[in-house]
């Protein structure tokens, strides 16, 4: 058995396969690096910056940096976690995230990361944007208030479903998710509940109607264990594989 190449993650050796990113190798080895826009079935996007680590002294997004380029990676440091906390706080302040009444509560990656990083306060003044929900589709509800612009739905719709139902429009603080229909309403697209795009949202934007709160508190994904203990669930896999 030939030894796989390795890099050091917070002082511990992590083996990798050629072509893997630092994130992919770390997760496959059961080591968690906080992330939001990374998804085990999709090409990296590098937009949320939550996975930023010090790779041989330089700040880089671990979801995009190839493992081959890394010798020593620092991730779980107070400095980096503090920056991550700030990013998460900004996301909470930018949208309208009311966790107690959100159907995704307990299964939401943003919320789980907030708990994991010890986000106790908003930290910033809430922007309270006005983003009406779109309930026009018979099976799916879109609650734009919670969008963190990770583009996973955009990527899934384009790459897996071949439909291009979603896109991001606008720039800077005006950036927002749009639906590819003249009316702008999901009910006027060919989106279907079985589409990959309908099951990738890490937060509570894309929801199946009539299923809310069916899983009791205590049995939801991140009730069972904190996100940092679920690294292997995020290990790279093919898009056909569904999340556990």
């Amino acid at each position: 058995m030939s030894a796989r190449p390795t890099f050091l993650l917070d002082g511990v050796e992590v083996p990798f396969d050629p072509g893997q990113s630092v994130m992919q190798a770390a997760l496959a080895a059961g080591r968690h690096i906080p992330h939001l826009c990374y998804h085990p079935e999709f090409k990296p996007h590098g937009s949320c910056k939550v996975c930023t680590a010090r790779v041989d002294g330089r700040m880089m997004t671990s979801c995009t940096v190839p493992a081959e380029m890394a010798t020593e990676v620092e991730s779980d440091t107070e400095e980096l976690n503090d920056l991550r906390r700030t990013l998460v706080q900004m996301l909470f302040a930018e949208g309208n995230h009311f966790c107690p009444s959100c159907e995704q509560s307990g299964n939401c990656l943003l919320q789980a990361l907030g708990y994991d990083l010890g986000v106790m306060t908003a930290g910033f003044r809430h922007l309270f944007p006005d983003r009406p929900v779109d309930a026009s589709h018979p099976e799916i509800l879109l609650d734009f208030n919670r969008c963190i612009l990770c583009e996973l739905c955009v990527r899934a719709s384009r790459e897996v479903d071949g439909k291009d139902v979603f896109a991001l429009a606008g720039r800077g603080i005006e950036k927002h998710l749009v639906v590819n229909a003249e009316s702008g309403r999901l009910g006027d697209t060919n989106a279907a509940a079985a589409d990959k795009a309908m099951s990738v949202c890490p937060v509570g934007v894309i929801l199946r109607k009539r299923e809310g709160f069916h899983v009791p508190i205590g049995e939801r994904r991140f009730d069972r264990s904190p996100v940092s203990d679920q690294a292997s669930d995020f290990a790279p896999r093919k898009p056909e594989a569904t999340r556990g």
Binding site: P100, S101, G187, F213, H214, V215, P216
Partner: protein, 396 residues
């Protein structure tokens, strides 16, 4: 609206358990934390002492029992809803969890203490009334029509039933009325000087149709309480002082403790019911665009009414909450206090305290903060018939 007209037995009993847990914890909070300082120390007593910390120092056992009863109610909620606040147990068509045998046994362990402490609380209020009968009998007291839910056999039911409205003399205005068409019976008046609406019984019009809801109404207007210890206390309450306390505003506290005892007994019965651990959680039905739900919340009748559009988005909602039902009644209570404690020229600290005590008999929502360890401002203005301000007193 899912349209599940009848829930599965497990779902209905889990929801009942959750609701009686809520009544238990809310009544304990209302009485021990928010009102007992007035009753134990006196309405004019030192403000610094008149709070739950003062009660804990002077009456440690009472304070401890209050805290533990409340905690028990919160545990019932946690086991049925997942969390003590913002739980998710009730979902359209049923519930998302039953009680596991372990959870049931954990709750059963303490329920007999809770029943005993709740009985003790009823007896404590009775003793206080015996001591202060002269002063309390008439305090902020007035005649009122009443509205409450009752079970088809006339029993107290805080979770479901038909609407019963009675005149002050006990004669019936309507009985076992269908909640689903509450608007045939109740309307709400808007007044320019208040954000709160003024509900009234349509048959009597907005001038005369106001009524009172809540524990005092429920205990005195049901035909019986369907648990033995609470019903015994109800009969004693009704007979006490020739029935005068059962019509008095401070009688709310006594009635509230009887309901707390009843809730503890209901919880015990439900915990012994095998359906509570059953696995049939959801029922279906024919989707409807409109839904009305009416329960007896801790402070009184609570009406929720929704209409949804073709996408299931809420298009219209109307809530008549307990505090709103009691709006006019609370105003009358304050007027009674003013009649007695106001000389028409000067506002006094004593008057302010008595206003708080009157409001608190109905509803801590409007006054709990005044007993908080911090302070909550209360401003009273005395205005003459021409609208000129005669006096103003602010507590901040």
């Amino acid at each position: 609206m899912v349209g599940a007209k009848t829930l599965t037995p497990t779902a209905e009993k889990i929801r009942r358990l959750m609701h009686y847990g809520q009544i238990l914890q809310s009544h304990a909070l209302h009485f021990f934390h928010l009102s007992s300082p007035d009753l134990l120390f006196g309405f004019d007593s030192e403000v610094a002492k008149r709070n739950i910390v003062g009660v804990a120092a002077a009456y440690p056992d009472i304070a401890k029992q209050g805290v533990l009863i409340r905690k028990y109610g919160q545990e019932v909620i946690r086991h049925t809803a997942g969390k003590r606040i913002h739980g998710t147990g009730s979902i359209p068509g049923g519930v998302n969890k039953n009680l596991t045998a372990g959870e049931r046994d954990e709750l059963l362990k303490d329920i007999y203490h809770v029943i005993a402490w709740s009985r003790g609380a009823v007896h404590l209020v009775r003793q206080l009334f015996e001591q202060h009968l002269e002063a309390w009998r008439e305090f902020a007291t007035f005649e009122a029509r009443t509205l409450s839910l009752v079970r088809p056999d006339g029993a107290m039911d805080l979770y479901d039933g038909g609407l019963r409205a009675r005149n002050a003399d006990g004669s019936t205005i309507f009985d076992h009325a269908d909640c689903d068409r509450y608007w045939d019976l109740i309307s709400e008046e808007v007044k320019a000087w208040s954000y709160m609406k003024f509900p009234y019984l349509k048959a009597l019009g907005h001038e005369d149709g106001w009524y009172r809801v809540g524990p005092l109404t429920r205990v005195t207007r049901c035909d019986f309480i369907p648990t033995p210890l609470a019903d015994k206390e109800r009969r004693e309450f009704m007979a006490f002082d020739e029935g005068r306390i059962a019509r008095s505003t401070l009688g709310f506290h006594w009635a509230r403790m009887i309901e707390m005892l009843h809730s503890a007994e209901v919880i015990k019965d439900l915990l012994h019911d095998p359906d509570i651990t059953g696995s049939e959680l959801m029922a279906g039905g024919k989707r409807e665009a409109r839904g009305v739900g009416v329960i007896e919340a801790p402070r009184g009748t609570l009406i929720h009414h929704y209409r949804v559009d073709e996408n299931d988005q809420v298009a219209r909602a109307n809530l008549i909450v307990s505090t709103t039902h009691n709006n006019h009644a609370m105003n009358i209570a304050i007027r009674e206090v003013a009649r007695k404690y106001l000389d028409g020229r000067k506002l006094t600290e004593g008057l302010l305290n008595h206003i708080e005590v009157a409001v608190r008999a109905f509803d801590p929502c409007l006054s709990c903060a005044t007993h908080a360890l911090g302070q909550m401002p209360l401003s009273v203005e005395l205005v003459d018939a021409e609208g000129n301000q005669v006096d103003r007193l602010v507590k901040d």
